[in-house]
């Protein structure tokens, strides 16, 4: 079976700064994977490389068996970090979702009835139908995440990429969003996301990729979230508390204990 995401001996740099070299990584279709790693580890650059918005110095990136720059428009669903969104921009939830369809060849500015129906159907499925005509600033954090998720899904992509979908939302919203992604994955969509939340990955995602200037390890959370691999990824002591099928990841030395020492 061909990979949904395939990086073959890829090297990437920002001007004269090398971010990672000779990276080979394959994500099979139908996978639900999370990329974790410390700040500055190159996670976002890896995501941009996969999305084709950052040029590779060497190597080849293929998505859905095609070179990323040759992919037809709308093949990938993408949800940016919500922190990067201008919330004062004058658009409603419906207009945000419709943007996902802007890559079609139709030149007229207004949507067709079919496009509008598609948006309404998706909004109903994601539970944001009631706020379709609200301005984006007037909805909750969870609804915002769902609005951008709807925009990413409106083209029925086979691959969905999310940049920090759990950042800046409360634990309940985080749980809801990850469950929703899990349901979408069950429908056959390959999902790749970056996150800082190891516990969310441990409890919701079947596959984890540890990244720090290169691939440290990848596999099922229970195999990957070991003291050795996490210390290698984050460079500090990390404690893993296991309780049955669940586990909790924490910094090994709380600040108040460090101060006493």
């Amino acid at each position: 079976m061909h990979a949904a995401v395939s990086l073959n001996d890829v090297s990437v740099a920002y001007k004269n700064k090398v971010i990672f070299t000779h990276l080979s990584l394959e994500i099979p279709p139908g996978q639900f994977a999370g990329i974790v790693g410390p700040t500055g580890s190159g996670k976002t650059t890896l995501l941009k490389t996969i999305l084709g918005t950052h040029q590779v110095f060497a190597g080849e990136v293929k998505l859905l068996e095609q070179r990323v720059d040759k992919l037809p428009a709308g093949s990938i669903g993408y949800v940016p970090q919500l922190e990067s969104v201008d919330w004062s921009f004058p658009v409603t939830v419906e207009q945000v979702i419709l943007m996902g369809l802007y890559t079609n060849k139709r030149l007229l500015p207004w949507p067709t009835r079919q496009e509008r129906n598609k948006v309404h159907h998706l909004a109903r499925r994601l539970g944001i139908h009631d706020c379709l005509h609200h301005h984006i600033v007037n909805i909750s954090g969870g609804q915002r995440q769902r609005a951008f998720l709807a925009r990413a899904l409106v083209n029925s992509p086979k691959l969905l990429v999310l940049d920090e979908p759990t950042a800046g939302v409360d634990i309940k919203t985080q749980h809801d969003v990850l469950h929703l992604l899990g349901d979408l994955n069950k429908d056959g969509i390959t999902i790749l996301l970056t996150t800082h939340d190891l516990n969310a990955v441990a409890s919701h995602l079947p596959w984890v990729i540890c990244f720090n200037g290169g691939l440290v390890a990848q596999g099922k959370p229970r195999d990957i979230f070991t003291n050795g691999i996490l210390t290698k990824t984050y460079g500090g002591d990390i404690v893993i508390v296991k309780h049955g099928d669940h586990f909790l990841i924490a910094n090994s030395t709380p600040l108040h204990l460090t101060e006493k020492n």
């Binding site: 999305l51 084709g52 918005t53 992919l71 037809p72 428009a73 709308g74 093949s75 990938i76 993408y78 940016p80 990067s84 969104v85 201008d86 921009f89 004058p90 658009v91 409603t92 207009q95 945000v96 943007m99 996902g100 802007y102 890559t103 030149l107 500015p109 301005h135 925009r151 083209n155 990429v161």
Partner: protein, 310 residues
């Protein structure tokens, strides 16, 4: 009514009224994208660069529009390139590129003194000296801009709102940006002889921010801003005639007054129609908005509070 028809007897007024109406609508339309991209001073900068270009063009015996257009477009492309790396922000890039081009024009004028008089119109606007050639240029640019904004509505909106995502979704953001720089430069060149280099930023920004305060919808903001721009041009021209004041200044002053009115209206609406205050429902003390649009909410909230009390 006669008082409004009286100035139309003069050909110069009819010309300037048509010019200011079109320039107002044009700047109102383009201004929406400028304001939402956080580039409010691009108009100010590009018109300065175009002024430098007009002077250079004059020394080379070129038409005003050719010199101004070439230098304006070059400045827009340079600003794009300088900001691409992310290290230099657009305000700084506008400051460097356009001031350098303006300085070139000033340097040439100061070397050859006879230019000074000819370029006053470009600096302060010369709406009363609008020629047929000016009207044709303005009408062509307005029609072209309307057509491009209509045809590029979707890619322009997506790349203005979320440029990174637009690129991932397959929008050719580089081409869209270039097309926008092109129509922006054309709009500024067509407008600078009318409102003047010194006033152009206001004619671009005022209609857009006034429209922004009136709606949360992008398409409505485009329509409102275009209408406000046209009304600014129309009323500003009449004010200029009746008060015998510089037309660029009366257009901008009328626009600024309109903006203040909308600002005041919004304040009063929030303060007295939709207002929020702390109050009590039984033992529950809370705060939420009051007013016609919130009556439903208020009733259901009060109902909920009563249920909670029980």
């Amino acid at each position: 009514m006669d008082i409004l028809l009286e100035p139309l007897a003069y050909e110069f007024f009819r010309h300037s009224l048509m010019a200011s109406l079109m320039v107002g609508a044009l700047c109102g339309l383009i201004g929406v994208y400028i304001v939402l991209r956080g580039m409010s001073y691009i108009g100010h900068g590009l018109s300065h660069a175009a002024f430098g270009g007009a002077v250079v063009g004059f020394t080379l015996n070129l038409n005003f529009y050719i010199g101004a257009g070439a230098m304006g477009l070059l400045a827009a492309i340079l600003i794009n390139q300088v900001t691409k790396g992310g290290k230099i922000k657009s305000d700084a890039a506008i400051g460097i590129v356009t001031t350098a081009f303006f300085a070139l024009g000033v340097a040439i004028i100061s070397r050859v003194r006879k230019f000074t008089q000819s370029f006053e119109a470009a600096l302060f606007g010369n709406i009363l000296g609008v020629t047929n050639e000016d009207l044709i240029v303005i009408a062509t640019v307005t029609a072209l801009t309307l057509a491009l904004v209509f045809l590029l509505y979707k890619p322009l909106l997506f790349s203005t709102f979320d440029p990174d995502a637009a690129r991932v979704f397959g929008i050719p953001t580089g081409v869209v940006q270039l097309a926008f720089s092109f129509i922006l430069t054309l709009a500024i060149i067509a407008s600078m002889n009318i409102v003047g280099v010194t006033m152009i930023a206001a004619t671009l920004v005022i209609p857009a921010i006034t429209a922004r305060m009136m709606t949360d919808s992008f398409s409505r903001m485009l329509i409102y801003s275009t209408i406000i721009g046209a009304v600014m041009g129309l009323v500003g021209m009449y004010l200029s005639y009746f008060f015998n004041a510089a037309s660029g200044a009366t257009i901008v002053l009328f626009g600024a007054s309109l903006f203040c009115l909308v600002l005041l209206f919004n304040y009063l609406k929030e303060r007295f129609v939709l207002h929020e205050h702390i109050h009590r429902h039984g033992e529950v003390i809370h705060s939420h908005p009051h007013g016609p649009r919130h009556e439903q909410y208020e009733v259901s909230q009060a109902e909920g509070d009563r249920r909670n009390e029980r």
